[in-house]
């Protein structure tokens, strides 16, 4: 195992985290709030330590890394970003303990958006800005991860995207991984700028607009308001945010193709199409239910609220315009299912991803088909291309593992004394990187009241979900530590 390579990579990430604290520091200085010192100290520490690690071991880093090293590097990067990102929170009085600070930071870098803050508006603006920034950085990280690392490691069926990014046929956007990541970042930054302008036009002040932009394109969900997006009470803002949450949950490679003059690429891709249809169907069910049960008097209001909150959940963002905890149970059921689905692979969204749900459905259908036609040869296809058997097996393995871990986490939470709804929804909200759950961690509540052990467990779940399970799970397998 090349520990040096790992240290140098991790150092680079820590230094980058430190450097990105600078905008937050500027913001803090502008508002003359209590966040300036913690941010300054953390920035200097992280940048210094990170550069030290990076420069110190860069020369010894090997040209190539093995796949288990790559896995370990990915996990280390996220964990260390979480640790160093938590430093400004820990040094500020708004957070009670290291546990809370770390929970908030990891929730940021995994683009989850679960918060331990009870009164968000009372926290220093500089720290709120940093909170949103962690999500934006997390989103950037996940794009690289899904472009460069996962397809090559083939985690949970991500082999399917190998061709897409590194040497396949028509889906290929750029031949080299580095170039591909850069072009996707361009799309990401373009969306960020565009959304910030649109939010400013909608009457948000610059601070709120920037913070919400950063956490929307990353499908994170940190808001600067106690009532989340509900604070603004603006149809325009909620429509704009709905659209960008949706865009953030679609494969960025498709966005890139669309922006390069092939807008139909989005429709030709079977996963994006499936996601769109799923979202529209779910919105319709929710809006009709809300309207029929007189939760909203006007159908348009029901549609707006239904669309915003469903898209927020299914894209694993986690904003809320209203407390959907009070909605009828059918709508809550749909939202809970949406938590499990998540967005498309190659996006900033979490969850198990539409691609896996779709492949599983097709696989099940093909199995049924084989029962009816014992001699039939069936090939599962995505976007007209045959999906290899090993990809299907990986997907099934991933889904099975996800289910097992979900159940285990839920039971552990229940053992810690959480009520059943809270336990079973908090675990998926963390593993799917969504944010709010139901019960006492619903959209109007927060995670502050949970016991410290539950917060550690949920932080772990967020990392698990974000790193597609395997990158963390392998640490638990003895085989990993063998020479």
């Amino acid at each position: 195992m090349h520990w040096r390579a790992m240290l140098s990579f991790t150092g680079a990430i820590i230094a980058a985290v430190g450097l990105f604290m600078f905008p937050a520091l500027l913001c803090s200085l502008y508002y003359k709030d209590t966040g300036s010192m913690p941010l300054l100290i953390s920035m200097v520490c992280s940048t210094f330590l990170g550069s030290f690690l990076y420069l110190g071991w860069r020369k010894h880093a090997p040209e190539t890394v093995t796949s288990r090293e790559a896995m370990a590097i990915v996990a280390l990067c996220w964990i260390s970003a979480g640790l160093f990102g938590a430093m400004p929170f820990y040094l500020n009085e708004a957070f009670d303990s290291f546990t809370d600070a770390l929970f908030e930071s990891i929730s940021g870098f995994t683009t989850t958006g679960s918060s331990v803050l009870v009164d968000i508006e009372a926290v220093a603006p500089g720290l709120l800005f940093w909170r949103s920034m962690t999500q934006w950085l997390g989103g950037m990280g996940i794009i690289v991860l899904s472009v460069a690392v996962l397809p090559i490691l083939g985690v949970g069926g991500m082999h399917l995207y190998r061709a897409e990014f590194s040497g396949g046929r028509q889906d290929r956007i750029k031949p080299r991984v580095r170039a591909a990541a850069l072009s996707l970042w361009k799309v990401y930054i373009l969306f960020t700028v565009l959304l910030a302008i649109l939010l400013l036009l909608g009457g948000m002040n610059l601070f709120d607009a920037l913070c919400h932009t950063l956490s929307t394109v990353a499908t994170g969900g940190y808001s600067t308001k106690n009532l989340s997006m509900g604070h603004f009470q603006s149809a325009y803002l909620s429509i704009v945010v709905t659209v960008f949450m949706f865009l953030g949950a679609v494969n960025f490679a498709l966005h890139y193709q669309a922006l390069r003059g092939d807008p139909l690429a989005l429709w030709r891709n079977s996963e994006a199409r499936f996601f769109l249809i799923l979202v529209l169907a779910a919105i319709l069910i929710i809006a009709l239910t809300l309207w029929a049960t007189q939760t909203y008097v006007s159908f348009l209001d029901a549609l707006l609220a239904g669309a915003f909150n469903l898209v927020s959940i299914i894209t694993t963002t986690g904003f809320a315009t209203t407390d959907f905890e009070t909605w009828p149970s059918l709508t809550k059921g749909v939202l809970l299912l949406a938590m499990f689905v998540g967005g498309c692979a190659g996006s900033t969204a979490g969850g198990v991803k539409c691609m896996r749900i779709q492949l599983m459905c097709k696989h099940i259908f093909s199995e049924c088909f084989r029962v009816i036609h014992p001699h039939a040869v069936v090939q599962v296809k995505m976007s007209g291309k045959v999906v290899e058997e090993n990809v299907l097996a990986e997907v099934c393995g991933f889904l099975g593992l996800f289910a097992v871990l979900y159940v285990a986490a839920s039971l552990l939470l229940a053992a810690m004394g959480l009520d059943m709804v809270t336990a079973f929804s908090a675990s998926i909200a963390a593993m799917g990187n969504i944010g709010p759950g139901f019960g006492s961690v619903g959209p109007a509540e927060n995670f502050a009241h949970l016991p410290a052990a539950a917060k550690w467990l949920l932080s772990w779940c967020m990392l698990l979900g974000r790193l597609e399970l395997y990158a963390l799970i392998i640490f638990l397998i003895p085989e990993f530590w063998k020479k």
Partner: protein
Amino acid sequence: MRIVIIGAGEIGFRVAQRLSMENKDVVIIDRNPDAIKRINDHLDVQTILGSGSSPVLLEKAGIQQAELFLAVTDSDEINLTACLFARTLAPEITKLARVRNQEYMHFKSALTREILNIAHVINPDQEVVRSLERMIDIPGALEVNHFAAGRITLTGVRVCSQSPLIGLRLMDIPERYRDTRFIVAAIVRGEELRIPAGKDAIHDEDIVYFICESPQLENVLSLFTPCSTKIRSAFILGGGSVGLLAAQRLENKGFSIKLVEQDAQRCRHLAGELDHAVVLQGDGSDGDLLREENIRDMDVCIALTGSEETNILISLLAKSLGVGKTITRINKFAYVPLARTIGLENVISPRISAVNTILRHVRRGKVISSVSIKGEEAEALEAVALENSSIVHKPIKDLRFPKGALILCIIRGDEVHIPDGESVILPRDRIIILCTRPNIERVEKALAVKLEYL
């Protein structure tokens, strides 16, 4: 007229046979001594033993004096190389080449344009799938041929016992069915093909060839075979290139398809290429498999495996299992009439299709399309009447037209006219002529006799 053919396989043999019978000057090149011997034994044509792609042999074959060059060996590459040399040695020659590789067909323009300048690229697989589609599109028909850019069809059909036309004399039919206009071109009864007169009547089990306007075809067919149903589902056996192509075409038309193939690897490939078709791995001649997959409820069974014996057996088996219609792929010419005698009426053959396409190009003058019906005995020709031809400006009854030939149709602009004795053919009319084989040469002369003075 001198014609150089390379490749003395089944297609080369047939084309050479037909052309030599019509007293054309044929040279055939092949490197297989047995094939050359077979040609020498049966046909009166010049043969050269050697590679068809050799420019030396092409020159020796007199390609400079030839008008037509046919490259019909089994190898695409030899055919194309030969065409390249033919182009250099005799720039004006008309070239026809057989190309089987589907990938080459995707870039057909590369073959037909500048460098090679091939007049017609013949892909037996595509030709056979095209005739298969026609059989399926028009249920009940044994053979469908289009003329005049598809406006006129010549259709062969077996008269069904419930047909209201049975017993009617041909001269009485137009009066009885005023709305559906058609003309019977030929009747095959038993083994004999006859060009009927007005007094002849239609019998049960006759195979009737008739001409009608294409939009009318369905109505006319329903008179001859009221019992046949529209085809919506197909059972295809054999997943080779023809099987795959056929399945893809039919799938696009919304048919429900089951495709049986023996090779597991190939099955996986097929399942990847096809969207809705059910791909089954198994032996096509296994009755249990066919029964298990409900072959009875399928509208048509298409046997397309590489072995014609297997295809014949599969079709007979499918018939016994209760399939309404079977289509059998047969390669050997000798088997075609045999298949008919054992009740397999719908036969497709890549080679026959290819030979028909080639002959269409060989016909002299302004013959636009020609097909052979009832295997070989008669030929339907579509032609443009030339200003200086001996058949124009005269009533048909005064024409010195050979006995075994019949003018079926005159197309003037958009008008389709079914002629009687008083009709007059004008220059630039398109005419469709049916003639039995011994008369082909005379008909050709009548159509193009003055061409050489142009």
